[in-house]
């Protein structure tokens, strides 16, 4: 016996989805249902909760193949619009990382650097149907004699292109402040001196991994919304922390779980995959991810009912502590406080600034909801769990 008073299976839920009878809510709507009707009733009524997030996710990139132009080639150096890609694979396979700057980028030599073009921008250009210049070099072998290759390609010319992200969807994250006396430019955005702003990056109650804090439903093989297409979770991401500190509701109070994701680039939309330039830090890619949570029992319903008030974010100093690897946490702020525009850091009142788009996150959760409602997207059964206790 499971010990739950509601017991549903993924195949039952999929049957309802295919009949157009499934009850699907976005994670914001689920907050109210659990609060007003309780978790058991919510689990009986609701089949799937959709989550969403749209934020810079630096650990992202594309794995692709450029095709052979005989005489054939085993590429050893590859550039896309002058942005280096890693090509230490077979023949004409390569990986382009989101944060890779163009070779002639001035970086931070004129501080703070603009980082106007990099890997993330190449990915967006490909999705926008723009022409991208490929420049490749090789040392030449008996079987792969070609030494150089210069050509312009469109995304449709690439035989294969996958968005393949080693670490996305961080489950909770730091809220960044700057206790030093000068403005600093971080991957969390600009931070004014003396703690005059606090930047936070999460979709909160909409965020995928905050709605399934123990990975009860999300695992290897979970079908998801990725960049506007159907993609998959392919396991835990790098730096995945399975045993974080948690609050009473099970929500991690520090950066915790992460996901590795994969999806077909050619089916994605540039609306949900955007190259970004983070002043003083570098290039990156904003990725839209939406994960469905099948409500199999009342415990999963309870977790998916998480609200902004239940999420505690650790406040960290990026002026000195973070760059020096010091673990000090200045305190916690709930996401509800952060979203109000003002938080307390110690005795100080500080302006809080989001860097994750809530409106885009909601749009993604709602798009996934509509896919499930019209029967075109069903819930997959994970093949391997992701460790989390």
């Amino acid at each position: 016996m499971s010990g739950y008073s509601v017991n549903k299976t993924i195949s039952e839920i999929n049957e309802r989805i295919q009949k157009g009878k499934a009850v699907v809510l976005n994670a914001e709507e689920m907050v109210k249902v659990v609060r007003e009707q309780g978790k058991v009733k919510a689990a009986q009524e609701v089949d799937v909760v959709t989550t969403g997030t749209f934020s810079p996710m630096c650990s992202s990139g594309i794995l692709f193949n450029i095709g052979q132009e005989p005489p054939v080639m085993k590429v050893s150096e590859l550039y896309l619009n002058n942005v280096p890609a890693y090509s230490g694979f077979a023949a004409v396979d390569a990986y382009l990382g989101a944060t890779e700057p163009a070779t002639d980028d001035p970086l931070n030599k004129v501080y703070p650097g603009r980082f106007s073009y990099g890997g993330g921008h190449v990915i967006e250009d490909l999705l926008r149907g723009k022409r991208v210049h490929i420049s490749a070099k090789a040392y030449g072998t008996d079987c792969y004699p070609r030494r150089t290759l210069e050509k312009d390609v469109f995304l449709s010319d690439l035989p294969d292109a996958w968005l393949l992200n080693p670490r996305n969807c961080y489950q909770n994250y730091n809220c960044a402040v700057n206790m030093s006396s000068r403005t600093i430019y971080t991957y969390m955005g600009p931070l004014k001196p003396n703690c005059r702003n606090a930047n936070f990056a999460t979709a909160g109650q909409l965020s995928p991994l905050l709605n399934d804090p123990y990975f009860r439903t999300i695992g290897l093989g979970t079908r998801i919304f990725l960049g506007g297409a159907v993609g998959w979770v392919i396991g835990a991401g790098t730096q995945h922390n399975p045993r974080p500190q948690r609050n009473d509701r099970g929500v991690p109070t520090v950066g915790a779980g992460t996901l590795m994701l994969k999806g077909p680039l050619k089916k994605m939309s540039p609306r949900y995959v955007r190259g970004v330039s983070i002043t003083g830090y570098g290039c990156s890619l904003s990725v839209g991810v939406g994960i469905p949570i099948p409500i199999l029992n009342e415990e999963i319903a309870w977790f998916a009912g998480v609200s902004d008030e239940d999420i505690d974010m650790p406040i960290k100093d990026y002026g000195y502590d973070y760059p020096n690897g010091l673990p000090r946490i200045l305190g916690h702020a709930t996401l509800a406080q952060l979203k109000s525009g003002k938080i307390k850091v110690g005795d100080m009142s500080t302006v809080s600034v989001p860097i994750t788009s809530y409106t885009m996150s909601l749009e993604i959760a709602d798009t996934l909801k509509s896919w499930i409602q019209d029967g075109s997207f069903t819930i997959s059964t994970p093949q391997e769990p992701i460790e989390s206790t």
Binding site: P56, Y185, P190, P354
Partner: protein, 149 residues
């Protein structure tokens, strides 16, 4: 001067000074001759002796127009800052990062819709948003040293 009068009319303007005007006292006459108060948000004299200034002017609307005419007659080019700054609405993702540095709250997050509201009338054309917008959605169409900033 009462504060009510000060609130009567308020506008942020961008002034361009040709080289022959940048050494003359002109802006101070807005106060002396037209009973306007002004706040200098930004001022610069370039190597070729031309200059630029961003001014927040407040006072009676009638006086404001007289004052602006005086500036124009003195050889200055006067433009509304609101017409010099643009947001690419298709590009903006409403993340909110620009609100961290916007000094005049021309860019402000609406706490209900969670969208970034842009009010060009409050903008002082400092250019910080342009510098930090991750998707390059902001354009500030102001020339400095013959270059677009």
């Amino acid at each position: 001067m009462s504060t009510d009068v000060m609130k009567g009319y308020r506008k942020i303007v961008y002034l361009s000074f040709p080289p022959e005007t940048s050494s003359r006292p002109i802006v101070c006459n807005l106060a002396r001759l037209f009973d306007l108060s002004f706040n200098i948000l930004k001022a610069k004299i370039h190597p070729r002796h031309d200059g630029s200034m961003v001014l927040e002017i407040s006072g009676l609307e009638e006086n404001f127009h007289k004052g602006v005419n005086y500036l124009k007659e003195s050889g200055l080019q006067v433009e509304s800052v609101a017409r010099k700054i643009f947001r690419d609405e298709d590009s903006c993702v409403h993340c909110g990062m620009c609100t961290a540095l916007c000094p005049t709250k021309a860019l402000e997050l609406d706490l209900v819709t969670r969208k970034v509201q842009f009010d060009p009338e409050r903008c002082s054309a400092c250019g910080m948003c342009r510098r930090i917008c991750p998707v390059n959605a902001m354009t500030v169409d102001i020339e400095e040293n013959g270059l677009h900033v």
